[in-house]
Symmetry: C2
């Protein structure tokens, strides 16, 4: 049982229009709605890999019902805490003339400290039967930056492996709390640490307490900085597709590898292969395992002994 916490769950709405013209009125030709947010996507990929998962988070308002029914339709078990404000919508307007997506992201509901306390209580009840915890995505408005760190310490108290994928002060505090794996992308990591070198930034996060740091390098693959060594893995070819959710597929691979006790090079290979499989899907949180099995043997994993991995 792998638990995923999504602090700011979304209702992902996709609108297809003929052509996006600012200042004009558009008929929406097709509407798709699904539960979204990084931890929800991670759970979707973990489920495809055969893992039992439970999605935890906060929901509220008129959008809550759509989110929970989509989770149920997708077979994703969930335990969601009701908050007063509405679950955020994230609207992707896809221009049919060129395939380009324009996104409008709401901020999300304010989540009060009492709701975070409620989440910790429910997590504490589930952690004795859990093998891992993933905390994924940014914090909703009104949250304490230390909220992720508290979940990390709670997991550690239950000897449950925890992966955190977030940004900014919440990432720093999660690292300081001793998260087993933190998984920022390169841009987020550099912004958070305030340096221009990925290896230096990852080293700093480890110095602050993170056990392992895995960095998404976009189309260039991923780099891992761990107690056992440092590796970089690259996909076989540059893939065209939808990058949304590819980092979440990588997170799913990393936590699944940690649960299995796989060696780091294998975890990194799987993360890059699943990430590539996710790029081929129009929807985040979905992978075709045939793509994963096709890509995995093609991934090049190199051990690195020096700094300067962000070349």
């Amino acid at each position: 049982m792998i638990l995923t916490v999504t602090p700011n769950i979304a209702l992902d709405i996709t609108y297809r229009v003929d052509q996006l013209t600012p200042g004009s009125s558009h008929r929406v030709r097709r509407v798709e709605e699904r539960a979204g947010g990084k931890g929800v996507n991670v759970a979707g990929v973990l489920r495809a890999l055969g893992h039992d998962t439970v999605v935890l988070g906060f929901v509220g308002g008129a959008t809550a019902g759509t989110v929970t029914s989509d989770l149920a339709r997708g077979g994703l078990a969930h335990e969601l805490i009701a908050v007063e404000g509405p679950t955020r919508r994230s609207i992707a307007v896809v221009d049919s003339s060129n395939g380009e997506a324009t996104l409008f992201n709401e901020a999300g509901p304010r989540v009060p400290a009492t709701s975070w306390d409620d989440l910790e209580t429910r997590l504490a009840a589930r952690l004795p039967r859990a093998t891992a915890l993933v905390v994924s995505g940014s914090l909703p408005p009104g949250s304490d930056d230390a909220a992720c760190a508290r979940l990390v310490r709670l997991a550690a108290a239950h000897r449950v492996t925890v992966l955190v994928d977030t940004v900014g002060p919440a990432l720093l505090q999660a690292a300081a709390a001793g998260a087993d794996i933190v998984k920022p992308n390169a841009g987020e990591l550099l912004d958070t640490i305030g340096v221009s070198d990925v290896a230096a930034a990852a080293t700093e996060l480890r110095r602050r307490g993170a056990k392992a740091v895995v960095v998404s390098l976009g189309a260039a693959g991923m780099a891992a900085f761990t107690p056992e060594g440092s590796w970089r893995a690259a996909p076989p070819t540059r893939l065209a597709g939808n990058p949304t959710g590819s980092g979440d597929a990588a997170a799913a691979a990393l936590i699944a590898g940690a649960v299995a006790g796989a060696p780091w090079p294998d975890r990194l290979r799987d993360a890059v292969a699943l990430s590539a499989a996710a790029v081929l899907q129009p929807t985040a949180g979905i992978v075709d395992l045939r793509d994963y099995h096709r890509f995995a043997p093609q991934i090049l994993v190199e051990e690195r002994h020096a700094l300067g991995l962000d070349r």
Copy 2:
């Protein structure tokens, strides 16, 4: 008691973003939501004028709750029939850098014939105590073009004055059913009749059965073609503002004037004055009566004795 039917009620959502850039991701800085659709706007203005109203229509899905609670918050009595599909969202993205609005309009739920039958039953129960009926807005997917015409005949059977503001075949059939007033805008009227002259198109609608035809001419005002004569009214000055809902304010004035038995020139003056007051409001369905009272004495109403009103 004035009844308003909105066949395709909307949840109007306004997103404010810093600057709209196609292909990029935007943080939504502010979200506003309100019940929308032309008949809802008409009811809002009628209420400001001191009339009791009941909003009728179809709602469904996750958006229904937000619509009904906004109607309640606005003090608008309503009787809404539940349908399976979701009430459409209409999203206006407002670019804060230039004030420009970009609209995304969903199609709305399919409304089956049985739901229209249900609406007729409920209308029939309310018409004996009603002074007027307004049917406003386009028909939702799956509706019979004759649906408006049936409501017109139902009102006529109860000797209740009926105004219809719709387009296309539904407008033609409502006219043929003998609607007391039809109120298309000039573009919709010309498209529906397939001619290029407003007076000729209005005359054709009257020949088909409409008793009076009132045409919105945008910033140029309005023209009325009635059994008592033809008039044109122009606002005193060109107003900058939000034209959405100005036609609905005009419809409210026209039906209120009909209920009061006001002479046609007075009805037209009030329609143009209320329409101008609505342009000054950022939100459809709202007017400040002080603006209306300020504009009304400034409206020029001219009787017309010849064709060629669409100069």
